[in-house]
């Protein structure tokens, strides 16, 4: 099992969410976050207002999937989150030791 964390542009949330759901991931967690990468200080237009600040609004998506799905989920996120402009985001892959479903106590495969 691996956890895939993706930081993406906010307006791409629906696209990415719909696309990875089609692949059969069990569930998704989404957080509104702020961040920046190498372009610190670059101007970026967000919802009509110009910001010249370090921290820009982003969306973080987290999914935990079976290892054999990782490559496809990553490719799908890349494809749907892409714009070609600075700030498209990043994807991280982390190993997951265990997963447990609270309501039933199921573990690992059955929990995701």
């Amino acid at each position: 099992m691996k956890k895939i964390e993706a930081i993406i542009k906010p307006f791409k949330l629906d696209d990415v969410k719909d696309a990875i759901l089609k692949l059969g991931v069990g569930g998704i967690t989404m957080t509104e976050v702020k961040g920046f990468g190498r372009q610190k200080g670059h101007k970026e237009i967000y919802r009509g207002a110009e910001y010249v600040v370090d921290f820009l609004p982003k969306i973080k998506i987290e999914v935990v999937v079976a290892t054999e799905l990782v490559a496809r989920v990553v490719d799908t996120i890349k494809e749907h989150a892409y714009t070609g402009q600075i700030g498209d985001g990043k994807i991280f892959i982390l190993p997951v030791e265990k997963a447990i479903r609270i309501r039933t106590g199921e573990e690992d495969r059955d929990a995701i």
């Binding site: 059969g24 290892t67 054999e68 990782v70 490559a71 990553v74 600075i86 892959i93």
Partner: protein
Amino acid sequence: MNEGAASLGASGFGVPRRYSDLMDRFISSVLCGAGLSEGAMSGKGKGLAVLALGSYGRRELCFGSDVDLLVLHQGRLMPGSEEKISRGLYELWDAKLEVGHAVMTIPECIRLAMSDFKVLSSVLDARRVMGSHEIDQLFQTAFSPRLDRERQTLLRQLLVYAQRREERYGKEDFFVEPDLKEGLGGLRDFHFMSWMARIYFKCRNLREIRRFALFSHFDVGRLTHSKRFLLHVRNQLHSMAGRREDRLLMDLQQELAYRLGYGDDRSLTAVEKFMQQVYLHLNRIRYGYELFAAKTLDIVDPGPSEEPVLEKTSEFQVFKGNLVLRKEGLSEKSPLVIMRAFDEANRRGLFLGSGFVWEARKRLAADGKALAHMKGAKDLFLGMILNPANPRIIRLALEVGLIDLFIPEFRRIRNLALSDVYHVETVDLHSLRTMEVIAGISKGLQDDRSPLYRKVFTELVHPPHLFLAGLLHDIGKGYGDDHAVKGAEMIPRILKRLDVDGEGARKVSFLVTHHLLLARISQRRDLSDEKTVVQVAQTIQDRDLLNMLFLLTIADSLATGPLARTDWKLMLLTELYFKVRKVLEGESLATPDATNRIESRKRELLQALAAEYPTSALQELMEQVSSRYFLIMPPEIMTAHFRMALNLGPEPFSWVLQKIEGAPVTRMTLCIRDRPGLFSKMVGVFAINNIKVLSANIQTLKNGLAFDVYEVTNPLDPFRENEKWDQVRDEINMVLDDRLPLDDLIHEKGRMSLGAEKSRRSRDRKIKIENAASDFFTVIEVSAEERTDLLYELAKTLHGLGLDIRFAKVNSDREKMQGVFYVRTGEGQKVTQEEALRAVREGILQVFC
């Protein structure tokens, strides 16, 4: 899910239906258990109806499918109902079903369906599972008139949806791993037809469409059979993958083929036979859908009719853009009419009326053989095939069996897809498309890519030969052997049958035999090595044949797929074409007196640099360089090298970077202090920076310098190319000082690769060692599945065996790496000893593991 599969047995097309029935009973019992009995739901005024939607509603439930339920009620929901429904749903979720649900009143449902196309398509297939009949009836009687009222709006939505699907699934990666549900020709196409039939023709079932005159010949039965085949495969796929997987992933294809009972034999593997069936059914459904959609659109939203009018004496007339017989009854006429119809439609850019097509298909099945032998039939056939102005008609000719009639060998390649990631169409369609591309070139459609192609076309002596070659170049596929050789064997017989004259037969035969030559040589050989070009020129010998072969290769590449037609590959082809052409025109590279040319090159170089450097220094440097260098390097590169060498201070190297026009490639002209194993170190540094080496040319000087030229892919981030090159420069410096743990970095990179889970296809591995390809070098060709560290390891191994790599060309993509290395022993000789050759082979095999 797996228990379900086991209990129903894994064979038979009826499984989805039985699974749906099983699901009905299961859901009924669960909901009853939660307190929602039939009685409780059917009371007057407090009714509830549970409807199945989507694929469940259609009774096409596959093992991984979602179970979509709709609970309809009137007015307010009874107290306690919500709790009971929840309880039921929980149980269904815990049973590991993917349940989607909604609880609504009838008006709410209709309103939602009319505002959201996805909901609408799901609801169109609604089917009562349990509960109030009355509610179900009320729903249907309210829904149908609404559909009717808004059918124009719905049409627009359908078209938008269809367009989006085509854009998304028409992309080439979806061909090799087709999506059985959403892909083109998949189940969705069939659903679309059913929906259209329901909305526009009020048919509850697609079969009913035949009541309508315009659809009386529509072969619903065949399409239904294809649908059931795909559904069956999809079900097995779900069962095998353990989840809702609709794409026939390459890794799953083989096991699925065996599961479904296909076996390997000498000419086709189980996968190839299986996929042939899959494509057959996909193509059939896609083709049927296109016809259906076109006809429906005609009726529902007819455009303005500007019909071309034919002469009164013509036996045909035009009706709604299609050619039909002026006077009834194909059955009374000679079957030659069919040929004439196709020919006429081709020339005028029209299609044929479907009634005519249906009758023609029947007639061909009955009298085909007689037709093929009739006087004039062949000429009409050739006339059409050799001037393919209308691709739709040619495609139709394939579909009705007309091409098979005159070229029975075509049957073998129908719907054939060989296990190969490069081709995006089955062999038969690919052949037609190759002809289409050639026609496009002649009309200037490829001028943006390169105006050269059309120019070459205008020089052709007899273009129809090229079209014939395009049609037949892959005819030898499907027999398990080398298809170029096999195809060449078959050509004389085919052409004799078509009464093509001797000269034409000779040329077409040649083209088919050698249709892979230019691609192979340009991608795997040193094009600046005279011998390479001369050998090709000697094989071809004739300029017209060269022109035809060039265009055939270009068309074949363009028609194959994006991996085959990269800008880089097309550039290499063009380079080879020009070089061979020069040889054939007598301006040869291969004058017996190469010494003269070397001298004149040296003189030119001296002149170019005389203003900047003292002649003595230049001459002294020239002494250090092998004569061969002056023959193969273009002047601008030589001047760059010489400048860098003469300016080189204490720093270990210097380079000039130049971006190549027409492809995403950078040329690095490098002057560096040579050292053992340098090539593999350079390759390593490139690899850890995600830069791929496309070609490398290495010239060592007597004074310990090296004049190299590398052609590599551009850095991945176009915004940060300079930073990336700075990093590469730093890392090369480090690696020259042995301060960079290259091995570790490369292996770490390989280990982290996402593709590590993919199964290794070891049957693609090849090693070929040739001593006849070059006068000076042994040529080693290696082919294997792609790996981050592969090129690095190969370079290190060859170096470890004591070999000097002087030239390399690498072709790599997601799947495969093909590399060619021109090597010499440490003493400057070719590798000829048996033992040495064996050591090389074994060394390379080690790398593969």
